[in-house]
Amino acid sequence: MNILAGIGRSFLGILSLIGRITIFASLAISHLVRPPFYPREFLVQLGYIGFLSLPVVGLTALFTGGALALQIYSGGARFNAETVVPSIVAIGIVRELGPVLGGLMVAGRVAASIAAEIGTMKVTEQIDALTTLSTHPMKYLTVPRVLAATLSMPVLVAIGDIIGIMGGYLVGVTRLDFNAAAYMTNTLDFLEVSDVISGLAKAAVFGFIVATMGCYHGMNSGRGAQGVGRATTSAVVSASILILASNYILTEVFFSA
């Protein structure tokens, strides 16, 4: 009986969490379009979330592209189809691995730091202080971060895609004896605009998820250092899971379309 009650309780807990996050996300969106706006905060976040995530996303893409080329080559060799390496690397990176791995890496970097920063502000009453200074925390803290992440993720992933394909190219040309020009033409011929667009659309959604989870868990942080620590962990875990789940859903949507 106790086990059933436990399962029921955690199920209800998850449902209510989903509800609260949905409310929080729609609130964030509704504040996005209503003044006052804080352009300075937005630019600061754009620099922090967008620009400073570039090395992380770039390195992830580079190594993934390289490894992918090796894997596809050895897999393709089993039925004499080594020539598919360039196109499969490109499609794999652009449609799937670029946005997903980039999203997960940014989740680790950005969701954690947003949750820790806002959580600390919460436990030291800085959020209350914002309110008493006639500044809505949602507009001043959440909106600039969510907007910056949503807009900069597609750009990050686009750059990551290029670096990832370069990684595959380097491995292909230096280790697998591909002809450099043929590798390039093969890549470009097989890649379609819709591949790129679907990947970048995913990236925007993942950016939104990362910043929203960071802000939500930060704003709802428990008291003290432990509360902030828990908020940080929850932000990263929930952002990662939501990225993977929404990735599946989005892939289904693009696949059927």
Binding site: P36, Y38, E125, Q126, A129, T131, T132, L133, S134
Partner: protein, 248 residues
């Protein structure tokens, strides 16, 4: 005028406020005293709408604070938080001038900075601290920056949560005078929370003592010493023996 009627607030099973009734006239300086953890900070957070009471009514100039337009309502207020609550990502002067740099009270940056430096001077801080960050200041200095921020936009109603804790006696005297000055000169309404009896005598027009979730006693500061209430007597004389338990 601020009127609190029968305000209740509980956190889980813990009843903190059990029917607070408190009236503060405009231009009056009210000091709230009471043991640690009796709900003094929560009381002023209820007035500001940072904490929502479970029941009861809070009126500001006859209007319910919960119904008012938030931004216009809060623009009248200044609040010094017990912990300072400075924004650690902003420099000291940007903290002080926070209100003057954005929103309805926005003014040019140079002017805002000048006002900030003037307010810092009033709380006994030199212009050199203006460009430092809160983390580089001592606890007492942070408190005074918080105070400067609370008064920066010349609010009509100001709340001070323990303005002199952590300050040396001379600086505490400066702050007491400043608070008195703000009430007398600017005609502001002030509610101050303090444990410091010197402050109480220097700042207060009226004193209210919070105990057991209710206002135990309230009266003009002149009547404080002659008060026959055993709770007040124990509190203001700092006696270990009396009706207030030492372990709470």
């Amino acid at each position: 005028m601020i009127e609190m009627t029968d305000v209740h607030k509980a956190f889980g099973s813990k009843q903190v406020l059990r029917g607070v009734n408190l009236t503060v006239q405009s231009g009056e300086s009210m000091v709230i005293i009471g043991g640690s953890g009796t709900g003094k900070s929560i009381t002023i957070k209820c007035i500001l709408g940072l904490v929502h009471p479970d029941s009861g009514q809070i009126l500001l100039d006859g209007k319910n604070v919960e119904d008012e337009e938030r931004d216009a309502f809060l623009a009248k207020f200044g609040m010094l938080f017990q912990g300072g609550a400075l924004f650690d990502s902003l420099s000291v002067w940007q903290n002080v001038a926070f209100r003057l740099l954005r929103g309805s009270l926005k003014r040019p940056k140079d002017e805002a900075r000048e006002i900030a430096i003037e307010k810092l001077r009033r709380v006994g801080l030199t212009p050199e601290v203006a460009d430092q960050f809160p983390a580089e200041l001592s606890g007492g200095m942070q408190k005074r920056v918080g105070l400067a921020r609370a008064i920066a936009a010349d609010p009509e109603v100001i709340f001070f949560d323990e303005p002199t804790t952590g300050l040396d006696p001379i600086m505490a005297g400066v702050i007491n005078d400043l608070i008195r000055e703000i009430v007398v000169e600017m005609g502001a309404t002030a509610i101050t929370i303090t444990h410091d009896m010197t402050s109480v005598r220097a700042i207060a027009d009226k004193v209210a003592m919070l105990h057991g979730g209710k206002i135990r006693w309230m009266g003009p500061v002149a009547e404080l010493d002659g008060c026959s209430d055993p709770y007040v007597d124990q509190f203001i004389h700092g006696k270990a023996e009396g009706p207030i338990a030492a372990v709470r």
